[in-house]
Assembly symmetry: C2
Homo-oligomer: 582 residues x 2
């Protein structure tokens, strides 16, 4: 089967996000209404299902090949890139001034989801172009912007993000790549980096590496990191590609998934001829990188949504075709008739629906943060985004791994066979809980930076918003259960998470269960609110809106108890991690 | 790193199982005491870590190759098989009369675990030999036994189990392979089978296929299936291999894991020259197959244990070597110092320890069932095994998939790279929740056949045994929590599972959550009992026994709440699966 965008869901959820975040009130968005959103989604679906999806398995089977410093992408990749670029998809939500289309994030989000579902390995360059552009827009000098932005936004050149080194992964403070100042104001870059997505490839003329490095006098640790623009080919005065910039790909990883996306090891300045230009201020590289990283984390959460959707579509189709076992009347039935198969499909369906809603709400919040003329509104949106980012990234990707497992289970033995394509989804999705910050790192960010340092203000506001939804339909079983879990959460915050005398080691041990609890609560919140809206709209489409209510009910019975269990763990942790001697 | 058997754990848990099931009282086991068990485990560890483990990645990377009906196993496989065979490991727990060593199951179980950890793809033939022998012992005529048993027990020939057809997987009643009676009492076999593990290979001289097929006048459905012994080469009067028996391998699956184990499609009787002999009675093939299937299910549960142990060892070692991030004093530390990494390692450690204990207890119960001279004792053991089999198979394999995910997470980005070997474990373990009956099928077996049809007697006895453990140390936090969950389980049984008016569709929807709840409860039971024993023995080895107590505490805080959540789902399911229209 080929992926098809879940158009109806997307359309309705985009509309809900638009309403909830009152995007109609934003002056700068007057030209970008829901009709436009729908027209663009329609075009994007054609590209995703028609061009990208058919290449997904090709990429997996062929993988990239590395030879003598060169990386060759799979058959069809180069052509697809040219089409993608020429259709203007890369600059969809980037400024018109640099060749983009300047669309709001709330429209770009469902489009991104389609790319991620249809061919994640392929489109990873798109998120890099988006993030790289935002860094240059925020921190780059006019000269840097002029040199790089149009080329990146139009897709002539691609972006690579060079952070990790063999001894510095999650711990960026340990980076050792050097940047030595030259008399002309540029820097000589020297060092080895690994895990660079699309660090080398054959699809574009030039690759702009954003490299974290350390100048000779820089302080130790992460406060001594600066960010540099380091192109594969130096850029001539007229903007054309010039001399080779001494950047060598030394190999690509042999990964269990995402075979079509080259993960490169790169050696910078082997011959002392690798020139970089500083982006922003010295020693503030991490700050700039965080812009890209927050983007990347949200995009990573959407990867969880996109791959769960893909897995759902595949499993649902298979379950309708595969006849096995008998129904209540003794006749053989398609396996979708078996309650246990329904349970697994609804696990996939309810979770990806809820997470999609959350992802679209976050995108709409970004529009508010970026476009609102009311400073308080914009700031509130920013704080909410900051709180939701680790929850969304961590929970969506953890869930996606579980959900794809359920999809394989629906396939039975066929799920273990590569030809069906579902095993590829399992292999591809595995990295999403790791890159752009592991779930453990998201959980620490959430617990310490987003909740404890904020003294619980932002989480209290979120809980108040959820409470509002609960109280709108106090008779609903779903809402009652969600209300109970909110009470439990309040207790956990008081007694443990915000308790000033809580032991740090103990908090860190339960950080991931705590993140998972919040993820489940946020998803239940989305479904509770959507179910309320569905009740209102029910007459328009009995099946669709009836199903939205059923999803909320399913979530409440099957998933919300898991959030409660995770909160119980937070409370019951009695140094259970510390008492064991490894 | 190379696998090493967790010898100390194994030794202690074997001892506990021996004591709990009072194997010392069994007359026929007088020669097979714990000293012998330890000596054999020692030998097995040498073979597992020295011969099998180094071939595990070879098998994954090379896989089997298929050409013109022939299957070639990976480099080294054939030699390792010869060594395995010549060392007598295949017949370890099979009768001496046929060349086996006649050891009790309680000794064979830890040995099996070592094989499964060190190289699952390789040793799959061993479980087939074991199961195939038991079928022939129970149902085969003297002639069949004489023809096949010694050859199988000594490993001269291997066994293949031919059940599945393209349209009949879980639903064996739909099988269509034919068995046409011949005048000489044999049958002509004709049909296509798939998913036959080691159905064709180059390691042994002959392969005895056990084929489920249907005679012309057989009733429809699963009551019309008979089981046949169908050798690849017909057997001459003198026991040597004769004429080719018209069995053709038509291909092997391209699987996501277990590459070293050939999964064959086989065509029987293309030229009407495939001769089979009936095993047992006509139309009772399924009954015979169930003998093998129960064996296979228990072995499959042990695969969950074995792969979780392997994943734990790899993750633990990596976490001790990998330096990343800072400890409380700001110095860089190995990641095992981070509480979140400890949490993941303890998830692996506590669950695999508990499941290992359960698996060893089941093996000891099999010895009781087979060897006890007291009919009542033997029958009670049989019933307990029947109850625990689906719980152990389903829960151990579901957990193993989650646990291996945690192990990958400990590796971070390196976990996604094939060279570390942990991604292979993820790919290999994926099938364990599917073959030998999916988790959904285990859950239905548990709920209907083992609990409802039994009117809850057997589960009540199990709960009484757990209650005894709880009440032995009423002050223990672990026991108190386990006691609470037992109360909740009692309520779930009364109100839902054993409720005669419960809706079947609703029960089937929650069957897997119910199985998972019972799995968690059984593991907590094991750990609670082991912790009690550890308190008694503590002075002998403070670290080891202190750790056992810590594992029970960890499980109680981090895992038992999940069992509660699953029970909550069973109660709260309000047709949540039925209300959604697909």
């Amino acid at each position: 089967m080929s992926y098809q965008a879940p158009y109806k869901d997307m359309q309705w959820l985009v509309e809900q996000a638009y309403q909830t975040q009152q995007l109609g009130n934003l002056e700068s968005l007057q030209d970008f209404d829901l009709d436009l959103a729908n027209a663009i989604m329609d075009e994007a679906n054609k590209f995703a299902s028609g061009v990208l999806a058919p290449l997904n398995m090709v990429g997996d089977v062929e993988g990239c090949t590395f030879s003598d410093g060169q990386v060759t992408t799979p058959t069809g990749w180069k052509d697809a890139y040219a089409q993608f670029r020429d259709s203007g998809w890369i600059g969809l939500a980037l400024p018109e001034e640099y060749g983009g289309q300047g669309l709001p994030k709330y429209i770009a989000q469902p489009v991104n989801e389609m790319w991620l579902s249809s061919n994640l390995a392929f489109v990873m360059f798109a998120a890099l172009a988006q993030g790289g552009s935002e860094i240059l827009l925020k921190f780059g000098s006019d000269e840097l912007k002029a040199r790089y932005l149009t080329q990146i936004v139009t897709g002539e050149w691609t972006v690579a993000m060079a952070l990790t080194e063999p001894n510095a992964g999650s711990d960026l403070g340990a980076l050792t790549t050097k940047a030595i100042p030259q008399t002309d104001g540029t820097y000589q870059i020297k060092g080895q980096k690994i895990y660079i997505t699309y660090g080398e490839h054959d699809m574009a003329e030039n690759i702009v590496h954003l490299v974290l490095a350390r100048t000779p006098d820089a302080p130790a640790g992460s406060r001594g990191l600066s960010l540099f623009a380091v192109p594969k080919y130096r850029v001539n005065e007229d903007g054309s590609c010039g001399e080779f910039n001494d950047i060598r790909c030394t190999g690509i990883e042999h990964k269990t998934g995402l075979h079509g996306s080259p993960t490169c090891s790169i050696s910078y300045g082997d011959n002392d001829a690798c020139v970089g230009e500083l982006i922003g201020n010295l020693n503030q590289g991490l700050m700039a990188m965080f812009v890209l990283m927050n983007e990347a984390r949200l995009s990573c959460g959407m990867q969880g949504v996109g791959l769960s959707e893909l897995a759902f579509q595949k499993a649902q189709q298979y379950s309708k075709e595969r006849v096995q076992g008998a129904g209540a009347d003794g006749q053989r039935v398609a396996i979708i008739e078996h309650p246990d198969v329904k349970r697994m499909l609804l696990n996939l369906r309810s979770e990806s629906f809820a997470l999609r809603s959350l992802g679209y709400q976050i995108a709409a919040l970004i529009d508010v943060a970026e476009q609102s003329k009311d400073a308080e509104t914009a700031q509130a949106a920013e704080k909410r985004i900051a709180l939701l980012t680790p929850i969304f990234k961590g929970f969506a990707t953890e869930q996606a791994n579980e959900l794809v497992g359920d999809a394989i289970q629906v396939y039975g033995g066929m799920g273990f066979v590569e030809e069906t394509g579902i095993a590829q989804v399992m292999r591809d999705v595995r990295i999403t809980t790791i890159y752009e910050g592991t779930t453990g790192i998201q959980a620490k960010d959430l617990l310490h930076r987003k909740i404890r340092m904020d003294q619980g203000r932002c989480i209290s506001e979120l809980m108040a918003d959820i409470r509002d939804v609960v109280e709108k339909s106090p008779d609903s079983v779903v809402n009652q259960r969600l209300g109970q879990v909110l009470n439990q959460l309040a207790h956990v915050l008081d007694s443990t998470i915000l308790n000033p005398s809580a032991e740090l080691a103990q908090l860190d041990a339960v950080a991931v269960p705590f993140l998972n609890a919040l993820g489940g609560i946020c998803c239940a919140w989305q479904l509770a609110e959507l179910a309320q809206q569905a009740q209102v709209s029910k007459a328009q489409d009995e099946v669709f809106f009836g199903n939205v209510v059923a999803l909320a009910e399913f979530y409440s019975a099957y998933k919300l108890p898991q959030a409660q269990a995770a909160l119980t763990t937070v409370i019951e942790e009695q140094n259970g991690v510390g008492n064991y001697e490894f």
